[in-house]
């Protein structure tokens, strides 16, 4: 059929454009630090952290629909682990970042086991409270964290190293999400997001699947937290458990499209870009405007950009549903 061939061609062209855009993007990211200003490189570094955290959130909340408001718990764990290992034991920072990630993943097992028994608003509030409690632990456990005084790190971080580490983190996040999306595991997570009881009845061990996604999702903010602490070369309870970052992370994922492979990337870059403009133009009220923007997105684009584009494309492509085939033909 001619129309089907034409459609196939269009899809092929679109895929080729997508790969080309990706290749150009990777090339730009790879060479950027060699000619861009420190400001721009720093901006990209921050964006990388947010994008990877948005991917982390997407893995647990986008796929399974367990909306987490507490991913910063793992950010803080990653940040503190790095700070402690570097300041006390003089570990090299890349190893300390990985150690922070491992610590978060290990802690995520019991935390996830407890939290995932809660659903809906209970889970949401549980995770919100968890971050608060960890911040309090960081304040109170002075012998380890130095409490409110914070931990100072040797200011040896080079922006370029951090930049590439952040870019690698984003690459890992994209690849992991892409693989999960296509895998049996991803289908199981989606089925939980759609209807947990039915998923269980279809043989999905929902407890294990949810826990696996929770642990996997914890590693991204943990790694981001480690890189963040190293860049800041200082960490205290307020900077390790930043409530504002939680909001931004979630909104990036939603803006791009929760539960999609490319949503957090696109949403993340658009959001940080807009945030930067707001900051430049309205420095005083930029956080407030940011909050208003969040509400506007939720109001007018609750599903995000990618599902919207996909739906529009579907509508253009298929004027009618499937052909009316007699069901008994089989």
């Amino acid at each position: 059929m001619a129309t089907r061939d034409a459609r196939g061609d269009r899809v092929a062209v679109r895929i080729r454009i997508g790969w080309a855009a990706l290749a150009v993007g990777i090339a730009v990211v790879a060479v950027l630090p060699f000619f861009a200003s420190d400001y721009l490189v720093g901006f990209f570094f921050t964006t990388f952290l947010f994008v990877s955290m948005a991917y982390g959130w997407n893995l647990v909340s986008g796929f399974t629909a367990y909306v987490s408001f507490g991913q910063m718990s793992f950010f803080g764990i990653g940040a503190y682990t790095l700070a402690i290992l570097v300041s006390r034991n003089a570990w090299p920072w890349p190893i300390a970042v990985l150690a922070g990630t491992a610590t978060a993943a290990v802690l995520a097992v019991p935390l996830g086991w407890a939290m995932l028994r809660l659903r809906g608003p209970y889970f949401a509030l549980g995770m919100l409270g968890l971050t608060q409690v960890l911040a309090m632990v960081a304040s109170a456990w002075i012998s380890v964290t130095r409490g409110g005084e914070g931990i100072y790190l040797p200011p040896e971080a080079t922006l370029r190293q951090l930049y590439y580490a952040g870019a690698a983190l984003v690459a890992v996040a994209v690849v992991v999400t892409w693989a999960v999306d296509r895998s049996a595991f991803g289908l199981r997570l989606r089925s939980i997001g759609e209807d947990e009881l039915a998923a269980e009845a279809m043989g999905v061990d929902t407890t294990m699947a949810k826990l696996a996604s929770f642990v996997l999702a914890s590693t991204f903010p943990a790694m981001a937290g480690g890189l963040y602490a190293w860049r800041l070369s200082y960490i205290d309870p307020a900077s390790a458990f930043p409530a504002g970052y939680e909001v931004q992370t979630i909104l990036m994922a939603i803006f791009g499209g929760a539960g999609t492979v490319w949503g957090p990337l696109i949403g993340g870059f658009l959001f940080t870009a807009v945030g930067e403009v707001l900051w430049a133009k309205f420095a005083e009220v930029h956080l407030l405007l940011f909050g208003v923007m969040i509400l506007i997105v939720l109001l007018f684009l609750p599903e995000g950009i990618i599902p919207l584009l996909r739906r529009r494309r579907m509508r253009r492509r298929a004027p009618v549903g499937p052909a009316p085939i007699r069901e008994e033909a089989a």
């Binding site: 049996a184 289908l187 199981r188 089925s191 997001g193 009881l197 269980e200 929902t206 499937p322 008994e328």
Partner: protein, 248 residues
Amino acid sequence: MTAPLLEVRDVSKYFEGLRALDGVSFTVEPGVILSIIGPNGAGKTTLFNLITGALAPTRGDILFEGRSILGLRPSRTARLGIGRTFQIVRPFPGLTTLDNVALAALAKVSTRRAAERRAERILELTGLAPFAQLEARNLTLAKRKRLEVARAVALEPKVILLDEVMAGLTPTEVDETIELVKKLRAMGIAAVAGIEHVMQAVKKISDHVVVLNFGKKLAEGPPSEVMRHPEVVKAYLGSQYAEAARKG
């Protein structure tokens, strides 16, 4: 002597004093279609929830292939070979028809691709193949019920629990569903069908009928016999069926 495929042994379930099920026993042999009939609230759905492990019985035991399955969570019983459909259909609305079935197939195969291949075959069998790429929320009620059956079949169950698969369908759709259930039997899958009042279907498909009323088993036997049982006729089917039953 081999154990029956599924045995429900003196099972009771109380909800805060309400007796949803009271000492119910029956067995299901391989490849047999058992209908459980009874009015709304007789305890059919509760019974299904107990068998799959979604609820725990207050008393009694449930055996599958001779072994107790009490305390197993639904995903375990599903993998053992007990498939189910829900009374209020609940396919995953945002997943495609194919993914709905592939998910269930993952109980038996480990890769996504193998599951999809298996799902394609089952969609052929159930007549849903043309709708494979459609999101389940866009299917009609009859097709969604059919999808539920397809999903349960993908588990490769030994027995499949059908909760009101006939309710709310047009006569043609009922006939199509009857054909589908017969196909399952031809594949060697036993079925337990909970049916409220599609009586012609009960007659056509059942090898055996259990009658529930207010959580108690009222009668049991071959369909023609049970449906002539005076108590049953009076309690469930009303006078117009009593007339029909007498005529045979």
